[in-house]
Amino acid sequence: MNIPMSFYIILSLIMFFCGVYGFITRKNLIAMLMSLELILNAVNINFAVFNRFLFPGQMEGMFFTIFIIGVAAAETALAIAIIINVFRSVDKIEADELKKMKY
């Protein structure tokens, strides 16, 4: 059974916008971080799919995906470290707590 490329793309788009939606609506910082992962994974799917379906002769998309996964891990680690700092200072990890500086 051959699944057409558009199916994958639709999936990745859904993931991407779910991520965006989640990022905007979730109040919890960790949940936001998870939404971010959704976005990045949508991108990963894109790369893999394009590579597989369009340019089967090369590996650029795959490599890119691997790098993204790696960097995302570092990013998450950093983010979590900062979220811990947030928690230390305000005892919560709600995004609404981070509104001291405005206007």
């Binding site: 965006v20 990022f23 905007i24 609506t25 995004a95 609404d96 981070l98 509104k99 001291k100 500086m101 405005k102 206007y103």
Partner: protein
């Protein structure tokens, strides 16, 4: 350089030098020195003027039986190749005559002021200003072109301003000075515009060129009109407005009565004898142009003159301030001259009006100066201008009395005093041209006699007044001497053969007495005097009865027919309140407000959009992703469409 021009130049430079000397170093001088410097200077000027006149009229001036002009100038300010202001000297019969008039009266006034202004604060300043005025006035009459005239025109205006406002701590004097300057300045605007229009179509400022017949012929081809009238009509009418302002023609006369706030000798010099006739002189100077190019303007001048003289005479009858009576009489007499010019034609006996006008200018200068100086002597000793405070001064001030009487007779047109001759010529000229004007002027002559003798009796006759501590006394010699000289001049100048000297085309012509005019004119003068004698010589109730019977008219005349009020209304209420005030408001609130508004709305906008910077990370992301999507939509739409 021609010797005669050199003399004229020296005549001009002496007062100019005196002005600088007294103006810059006056503070360091004693009063006496300043007075001596000023008076001596003017004395020399007078002598030179006489020499100049003598040379001109009896010597080089007359070429082939015609008086020619002598001129010399240098280019001072060049506008373009053809238009330039030259500064120069232009000697012709009228300017030489004016030199004589100005220097004589000015000398008298200088002399007189030594006594009159004795001990006044700012004595040196006074003399400096007098010198400045004399210089400017002399410069005005010898101008070679209309722009030079305009320059000196402005300068006499300023000297007049400074001298009227000489008592600068007195509010009324300051106001009067300001009024005089601004009203004449307004008129000068007309003159300036006239000059501009004229120069645009003629491409010259030069009197010689403008007055030459050939040039005028070449101008006839200019058919330009503006609002139905030829541009030259506009030009000359506008220039006349300038003259009307200086010569206090209706309705620009309002400054002159107020100008009496200045020291009396100043009134005698500026506001009686010299500066106020500048308008007449201006028209006379351009007379050939007026006559050949725009005769309709001359007619207008005649009627304005008639109206003014009538108006001023009527008003003069109702005034109680002696200087104001004299001021209105001056207005009336100058209007006479204007009428004469207005009815005149060019050349030979047709130019009788021109000659008469100049003649009257000449005689009037002396007797009016005499009147003013007498009034000054009276005021000096009484300390007031009001007729109520005076009476029976003939006992205390015999010389003043006699000279005043002579001048009064002259102005009333009683032979053999000078006024008779000149006024008679004017009436003849009017009679020949326009009967309405003649009757008007004839009536005014009667009125003149009446109000002058009303004044005369009011001052020197009537009952004794209580003069307070000090009794009136005759003025010192340096004041009476000028009176005597001027009275003498009043007696004799009438006999000068003016028609041989000053005429519209430079050619002499014969005049003969027109009895049909002379007799009624003397008669009306006598009637005027008689009525005045009856009413005012001794205290009587007649004047009060008359005034009460025409109360409304009398009050109006006393208030000068409310001209000042109308002007006040226009300036204060309309221009200041309704134009300047709103402009200032408009500028501050609308124009500037608009600029402030820019700042305001930037600030307001800045406040409004601060919601975007809410501090919430998720808003930021929302804006972020929305922007991406919107931009993508736009850019893709752009490509697809």
């Amino acid at each position: 350089m021609d010797t005669n021009l050199l003399i004229a130049l020296i005549i001009l430079l002496i007062p100019a030098f005196n002005f600088l000397l007294l103006g810059l170093c006056g503070v360091k001088m004693s009063h006496k020195t300043a007075g001596v410097i000023g008076t001596t200077g003017l004395g020399i000027v007078t002598i030179l003027s006489y020499v100049s006149a003598f040379n001109y009229f009896l010597g080089y001036g007359k070429v082939d039986g015609v008086y020619k002009a002598l001129s010399g100038s240098f280019q001072w300010l060049s506008f373009s190749d053809t238009l330039h202001i030259d500064l120069g000297l232009y000697l012709d019969p009228i300017s030489v005559m004016m030199l004589v008039v100005i220097s004589t009266v000015s000398f008298m006034v200088h002399l007189y002021s030594n006594g009159y202004m004795h001990g006044e604060r700012g004595f040196q300043r006074y003399y400096a200003f007098l010198s400045l005025f004399t210089f400017s006035m002399l410069g005005l009459v010898v101008a070679t072109n209309i722009f030079q005239m305009y320059i000196f025109w402005e300068l006499v205006g300023v000297s007049s301003y400074l001298l009227i406002g000489f008592y600068y701590t007195k509010a009324s004097a300051v106001l009067a000075a300001k009024k005089a300057f601004i009203v004449t300045r307004f008129a000068d605007l007309g003159m300036l515009l006239g000059i501009l229009v004229l120069s645009f179509y003629t491409d010259t400022f030069d009197f010689d060129t403008l007055n030459s017949t050939g040039f005028q012929e070449s101008l006839k081809s200019v058919g330009a009109t503006f609002m139905g009238a030829s541009v030259f009509t506009w030009a000359t009418a506008l220039i006349f407005i300038g003259g009307a302002g200086k010569s206090a023609m209706l309705p620009l006369h309002i400054w002159l009565p107020d100008a009496m706030e200045g020291p009396t000798p100043v009134s005698a010099l500026i506001h009686a004898a010299t500066m106020v006739v500048a308008g007449v002189f201006l028209v006379a100077r351009l007379f050939p142009f007026y006559f050949n190019m725009t005769p309709e303007v001359l007619t207008g001048i005649a009627y304005i003159g008639a109206l003014t003289s009538l108006y001023a005479a009527v008003v003069a009858c109702a005034q109680t301030d002696i200087k104001r009576v004299l001021a209105f009489s001056t207005i009336s007499q100058i209007a006479y001259m204007m009428v004469a010019l207005g009815v005149s034609k060019l050349g030979g006996h047709d130019g009788l009006g021109y000659m008469a006008s100049m003649f009257h200018l000449f005689t009037h200068a002396f007797f009016k100066a005499c009147l003013f100086l007498c009034a000054g002597a009276v005021i000096h000793t009484i300390g007031s201008n009001e007729m109520d405070k005076m009476g029976s001064l003939r006992k205390y001030m015999p010389i003043t009395h006699i000279t005043f009487l002579i001048a009064c007779l002259a102005i009333a047109g009683i032979p053999p005093f000078s006024g008779f001759f000149s006024k008679d010529e004017i009436l003849v000229a009017a009679f020949e041209e326009d009967k309405v004007l003649f009757f008007c002027q004839w009536f005014v002559a009667g009125l003149t006699a009446f109000y002058m003798f009303r004044l005369y009796y009011g001052i020197f006759w009537g009952e004794n007044k209580n003069y307070g501590e000090h009794t009136p006394h005759e003025a010192p010699l340096n004041m009476t001497l000028p009176l005597i000289i001027l009275a003498a001049l009043t007696c004799f100048t009438g006999f000068l053969p003016f028609s041989e000297l000053v005429t519209s085309d430079g050619k002499a012509f014969e005049i003969h007495t027109e009895w049909i005019v002379a007799i009624p004119s003397v008669l009306v003068g006598v009637i005027g005097i008689a009525v005045a004698t009856l009413m005012y010589k001794n205290k009587s109730t007649v004047p009060d009865k008359i005034t009460s019977s025409i109360k409304g008219f009398y009050v109006a005349a006393k208030n000068r027919f409310y001209f000042d009020e109308v002007y006040m209304f226009v300036t204060k209420k309309i221009i200041f309140k309704a134009i300047c005030g709103p402009i200032a408001w408009f500028d501050r609130h609308i124009i500037d407000g608009f600029m402030d508004f820019q700042a305001w709305w930037s600030n307001a906008l800045s406040f409004r959009i601060r919601g975007f910077q809410s501090g919430s990370m998720q808003t930021y992301i929302g804006v972020f992703i929305t922007s991406i999507l919107v931009i993508s939509a736009i850019i893709i739409a752009y490509v697809l469409i």
